[in-house]
Symmetry: C2
Subunit: 126 residues, 2 copies
C-alpha cells in the first residue's frame, strides 16, 4: 500500500479516503485484518497517532471493528458496506454534475472524454 499525499487535505482524511476506496473496490474484503496502527504509520512515514485518528473515525462509521488487543478488521455488515458504496457513488455523481453543470456541453460529447480517461487509467495501472 502506498499513497501520495497532497498538502491541502489533512493526512488522516486522505488515509480514510484511500482505505474506503479499497473497500469499495473489493481490494479490502469484509473480515480481513487491517495493518496495525504502528505498521501502517511506519509504511506511510507518518505518525501512529494520525493513523489512529483515521482508524477510530472509520470505526465510528462502522467500517471497521476492533476486538480488544487484536488488529482491526473490515466490517462484515452488508448494510454498512452497501451504504458506503452507495454514498461513494452518489458523491462521485453529485460532484461531477455540479462541476459539469455550468459548462455548455451535452452529455453525449462528454462520454468519449470519460472513456478516454478511463482507458488512460487502465494503461497506467500496469
Amino acid at each position: 500500500m502506498s499513497v501520495t499525499f497532497n498538502k491541502r487535505d489533512p493526512i488522516y482524511l486522505q488515509v480514510m479516503t484511500h482505505l474506503k476506496k479499497q473497500i469499495v473496490s473489493g481490494e479490502l474484503k469484509p473480515g480481513v485484518e487491517m495493518p496495525s496502527r504502528r505498521q501502517l504509520a511506519n509504511q506511510l512515514k507518518i505518525n501512529p497517532n494520525t493513523v489512529q485518528r483515521a482508524y477510530s473515525e472509520m470505526e465510528e462509521q462502522r467500517l471497521i471493528f476492533t476486538e480488544p488487543n487484536k488488529p482491526s478488521r473490515i466490517s462484515e455488515d452488508p448494510n454498512v458496506l452497501n451504504q458506503l458504496k452507495k454514498e461513494w457513488l452518489n458523491q462521485a455523481i453529485t460532484r461531477f454534475v455540479s462541476a459539469i453543470d455550468p459548462i455548455d456541453m451535452d452529455l453525449e460529447d462528454l462520454m468519449p472524454m470519460i472513456e478516454q480517461e478511463l482507458a488512460n487509467r487502465k494503461k497506467a495501472q500496469k
Copy 2:
C-alpha cells in the same frame, strides 16, 4: 450572489471556485466589473481580506485584472478564458473517473444516474 460555505475548505478557495464557475458558465462576462472587496465581503458575511486573497490569486492567474483604484474586472483575454474552461472540464472528468474507477459498474449504467441528477438540478434551480 450567495454561496454556502463548507467548514473544511478555506473560504478564499471556495470564493475562487464560485467565481470561476460563474466565469465558465458565462454568468460573469469578459470585461465586466467585479463587486468591490468590501462589497462582496459584506454580502458573504466574511472578512474583506479573505475576498482580497481570492481576488489577488485570481489576478495572478490572469482571470481578473485591476487598474489602480478601480474595481477589478473579468479578463478579456480569450486564451485565458479558454484555458480556464479547459482546465475546469479536465478536472471534472479526472476527478469523476478517479472516483468511479474502483466501482464495479459499467459506464452505461451510470449514464441514467447522471442524467437524473442533472434533471434534479434544473428543477431545483427555479
